[in-house]
Symmetry: C2
Subunit: 230 residues, 2 copies
Amino acid sequence: MTKNSHTAIRQSLEKRIQSGEWSLGDRIPDEIDLSQEYGCARTTVNRALQALANDGFVVRKRKGGTRVNPLPVRQAKFDIPIIREQVEATGSVYRHHVTEKAIASPTPSIRTRLRLGHDDETLYMETMHFADEQPFAFEMRWINTIAVPSVFNAPFDRLSANEWLVQTMPFSSGDVEFSAVNADRRVARALGTKPGTAIFSINRTTWLGDRFITAMTLFHRAGFQLYTKL
Amino acid sequence: MTKNSHTAIRQSLEKRIQSGEWSLGDRIPDEIDLSQEYGCARTTVNRALQALANDGFVVRKRKGGTRVNPLPVRQAKFDIPIIREQVEATGSVYRHHVTEKAIASPTPSIRTRLRLGHDDETLYMETMHFADEQPFAFEMRWINTIAVPSVFNAPFDRLSANEWLVQTMPFSSGDVEFSAVNADRRVARALGTKPGTAIFSINRTTWLGDRFITAMTLFHRAGFQLYTKL
DNA sequence: TAGTGGTCTAGACCACTCA
DNA sequence: GAGTGGTCTAGACCACTAT
């Protein structure tokens, strides 16, 4: 702990901020002054301060110096794992079952989300995910067959679409939307609950570069919670 | 773009990974080799690679080298802003109203969340948050009066408890839990919807160091969505 | 214009871990 | 034991922006 390092300096500065040594908006010493105080090179202090800025503790400006962030914003980070890992992380046994798989003309809203042309078709799939044979989540998914032609050879008996797509297009990006919905009859039946039950739902759209890959809606079992620290 | 910099190198490497030049689990060249290839110092390549590792693109091990992450995990980041900013960001006018405020003996579950003793009391508050005079969220909050004695002088007519606590204890940490619940009669009435409606709910516990500050449950208006990119 | 952070370099030593 | 990443240094120049 007495050893100089960017982590130790970062922690020290974080504590000094939390202790109130500097108030919201206050300017904190120069990199050069701090490097003398901590007895290290400016680069090392710089690294610690950049980390603090990255986490929203301070705001840095050239010539303006480094200030305690007057508008501290807490950031929450989630890992979005594949469902199998999510289930297995709780110690449960995972199983999935494809209940529907067909070439389909997507709904207009899906067409928009995937930026498809008017005649483009998608592969539509419904998948049930189980944890210890209890329903864990119900998935509806549309896959852009033009962007992912190999989808027709995918072994969906072994891998869920979720997992197969992660392995096939590993570094795609996308956006995610969390919401609460009342289960309709179909979703309620799939999840073994009553219609109207509040269901935690995740909408996700995925693309690779400029090619839109897949859109998915996930309905989690009743009582599902997403947890994180911040 | 032709200029050497850690960002440019990071982007270049990210593209090479996405393009499939290296497959999942493949080893990518040494820092030294890459620094020769890009014509820069090893430190610069190191910085780019650490950023890639931080974002889950690669996994690095001493002696083992740097490999394309065989288990790519996507991370979602949320800013958790104060509600006023959340409302005003949509262009709406924010207003809040404290509907209840009293010293109360908390429920056992809150007692656990705040790690309170058996006789400790809390300040219990209910607050309605409005966007353009429409209900936006209903908040139930317990504040540890021992950790935050100044709460009795707080100007809750001007600032919501949410905002006041952020300003008073700016660098507290905590955990967050998202879930979907069916509105009970009270929540439904507060939010102007029917009992049973699926409501997006956020549970949050906050502490500073080892002192537990506050626990809160937030019920968002029907149809509320939390959105992020990943 | 001057002060501050942003970045890069060349070199060094250390810490880990694979073979 | 040897190869790789992790970190630190001392110095330099640049880019931004507050004054």
